[in-house]
């Protein structure tokens, strides 16, 4: 019987939980289009762990936990992506190393070997023990007043606090991330939950600070590049973000279609993107889903740039100061609403605008001045736009229902590896 099941199961997509280092998330995202594998949102649904690129030091411990949460028999594949350091191989000694550009054949092979019994499942990597000794002052190990508070077994218990209706109710301190699929890689949110409402929030950035990005925007800091290439990359970045955001909003199949579009767009394809905007509007992504969520007023936007600022009505864009863009007739787009819907629309429109610009740009070049408008905002040598944007998160999510908070963070398009210097703990409470 089990042999028959295994034979049938060979036809199934391999269930893969992918953990991407903060420098490899673009490569990892493309695997959503691959045939023969299915990326899961939780390690419990997978039995193959794929580690893409080099993991940030702060992600190793959560990755070990995720490994042990995979369904047995489990296996690990490390898709090296030309990385050199050995942090992954040291921590995942049994990982199957894959140097190929396409990890899908290796993932299929591991999946099939596991099913056929040719590959032994990996044992858990962490000992099955409590994270800390039982510690508490009360008879039940609790540390606060009455039955609440304290950290028995190293885990914070519920405590009491005022809720938004003026009652004293339990709140639960929990950490969301850094591998929580909807949030950007490396962002760990420490929230105090009352029911599904966030009453206090802090975040920690577990992504390694990237010293030198390899994107065209980083290259444009030092040398002049073709506007055509730069704007095409901007449109791709916005569409890839859109694909992620649409997936979090529940539409996995539409997300796949947008991701495929992101790979196919060419200079001059602005109309294809405007068609996407109409599709999203008709399907309720803006008005039913994101309207009024996470409103950012202009006075809260100190240091914030890029689409997030422009969606709140600030007309700031480094491109306006460049002669080449002036010759192309560039004008920054802005909106007034400042909510998540506005940020979605802003990025979609900027993607269309970028493709229009790329179509007209010819041989015009830009860059080399040490500052460039990247898809997330103003990028300078040593400082990325996500630093300022990430700082908005704690005060923004307090008081929100959990799903709204996730939608809000997603709408900010953070890249935690450029959110530096490490201003680690920013917190807020209601």
């Amino acid at each position: 019987m089990s042999r028959v099941l295994s034979r049938i199961a060979l036809r199934a997509d391999a269930r893969v939980f992918c953990i991407a280092g903060s420098q490899s998330r673009d490569e990892a995202r493309l695997l959503r289009l691959a045939e023969g594998i299915h990326l899961t949102g939780t390690p419990r649904a997978a039995n193959v762990l794929l580690i893409a690129g080099e993991l940030d030091a702060g992600l190793i411990a959560p990755a070990l936990v995720a490994h042990d949460a995979l369904s047995p028999p489990r296996a690990t594949v490390w898709w090296r992506l030309d990385t050199e350091e050995a942090l992954v191989s040291k921590n995942f000694p049994n990982a199957f190393m894959e140097d190929d550009l396409d990890p899908v054949p290796a993932l299929r092979r591991v999946h099939e070997e596991l099913l056929a019994g040719q590959r032994e499942g990996e044992a858990p990597l962490l000992p099955d023990v409590e994270p800390a000794q039982w510690q508490g002052i009360g008879p039940y190990g609790q540390g606060g007043k009455g039955m609440t508070g304290g950290v028995p077994y190293g885990r914070p218990m519920a405590e009491r606090a005022d809720d938004r209706d003026g009652l004293k109710l339990d709140y639960l301190p929990v950490r969301i991330g850094p591998l929580f699929a909807p949030l950007p890689v490396g962002l760990a949110l420490d929230v105090k939950l009352q029911g599904d409402v966030i009453q206090g929030a802090a975040f920690e950035n577990l992504a390694d600070a990237s010293t030198d990005g390899t994107s065209i925007f980083h290259r444009a800091l030092r040398v002049a590049v073709l506007i055509r290439d730069l704007e095409l990359a901007r449109a791709r970045s916005h569409l890839e973000w859109l694909s992620d955001a649409v997936a979090v909003a529940g539409a996995a199949s539409l997300s796949e279609r947008i991701l495929r579009l992101a790979q196919q767009v060419a200079p001059g394809d602005g109309d294809a993107i405007r068609a996407v905007e109409r599709t999203l509007r008709r399907r309720g992504f803006f008005d039913w889903s994101m309207r009024g969520v996470g409103v950012l007023k202009t006075n809260a936007l100190e240091g914030v740039s890029g689409p997030v600022a422009r969606a709140s009505g600030l007309s700031i864009d480094a491109r306006t100061k460049e002669a080449a863009y002036e010759r192309l007739g560039f004008e920054p787009l802005t909106q007034d609403a400042g909510d998540a819907a506005a940020r979605w629309i802003q990025r979609v429109r900027e993607a269309a605008q970028a493709l229009d610009l790329a179509g007209q740009a010819g041989d015009e070049r830009t860059g080399g001045s040490g500052a460039i408008e990247s898809p997330r905002g103003l990028l300078t040598d040593g400082a990325g736009p996500s630093t300022a944007t990430a700082r908005l998160v704690p005060s923004l999510v307090v008081g929100m229902e959990f799903g709204e908070a996730v939608a809000t963070v997603v709408s900010l398009d953070l890249d935690m590896s450029e959110a530096q210097p490490l201003d680690n703990h920013v917190s807020a409470a209601s």
Partner: protein
Amino acid sequence: MRPYLSPPLAVITMIGVLIAGSYAVAVLEEIAGTLVSRRPLRLTYVFWAPLATAALLLTQGRTSTERPDAQAWALAPALLAGLAAVGLAVIPIDQNTSVADPAAGFVLYSAAISYVMVAVYLHGWSANSTLPLIGAYRFIAQAFAFQIPFLLVLLAPALPAESLAISDIVEAQESLWNVVRQPLGLPIFLVVSAAATFSLPLDFPDAADLAGGTSSEVSASHRLAWRGARAGLLVMVAAMGASAFLGGWQGPWLPGWLWVILKTLLLLVILIASSHTFARLRIERFVVLAWVVLLPLSLVNIFFAGALLL
């Protein structure tokens, strides 16, 4: 008193309907996903994928969270599947064939729908983990909002039949189906059905923004059971919609049972297609929509259904 299937045959029929129904749901999901994502449609893959996935989940080992309420956790999918079976049992398969067609079939069906809240809450709570718990909380708000409109909109078809037995409700549609007689009924029913089966755009307890919510911690056979039970629930509401609004077994040329299957499939296609079309509503919006729009509309629906009888 109508003839029932003999008990052994009834049990086999119910199991068969649940399994075949879940398979149909999985295939329709696969087709809808393929069409929306604009992947090339490979029919052998579409028909094999659900079976292969089920086999894969059955070969895997189960994992556990830290200190779950293990019995309740294992019970939740069984409870949900059981509720789907109870609801399906009261729906006649043909004019003279049913598994159970009690005089108060509507009441039994409604009771099954109310207990969905218990199954989902149990599933989320007993995992002893954050994301499932948030999913469980969400479903309480959702369930309070959809339950009353759900019952009211199903009560309206009982008025022209002057009976709470589903077969009488079907028979009363011989001259005119309720989808025409009560034009508000089916649209409201479809919305509350999406909520009751926690399908997109109303999949709050198991949503992607919770990495799967109440099912984010389940693995292997447990995951298969939960997905199967939820698919069974979809079949249960679609079959009820077919009987209460689309005239059940009534139709020309084809045998009655085939009409029941075709009409159920039609409603499944509508429910699954809309789950691949619309963005997830904000939960607050849905609760407001349910109390402020759906509830009054379903009362208006009942009022007109009653007025037509005078």
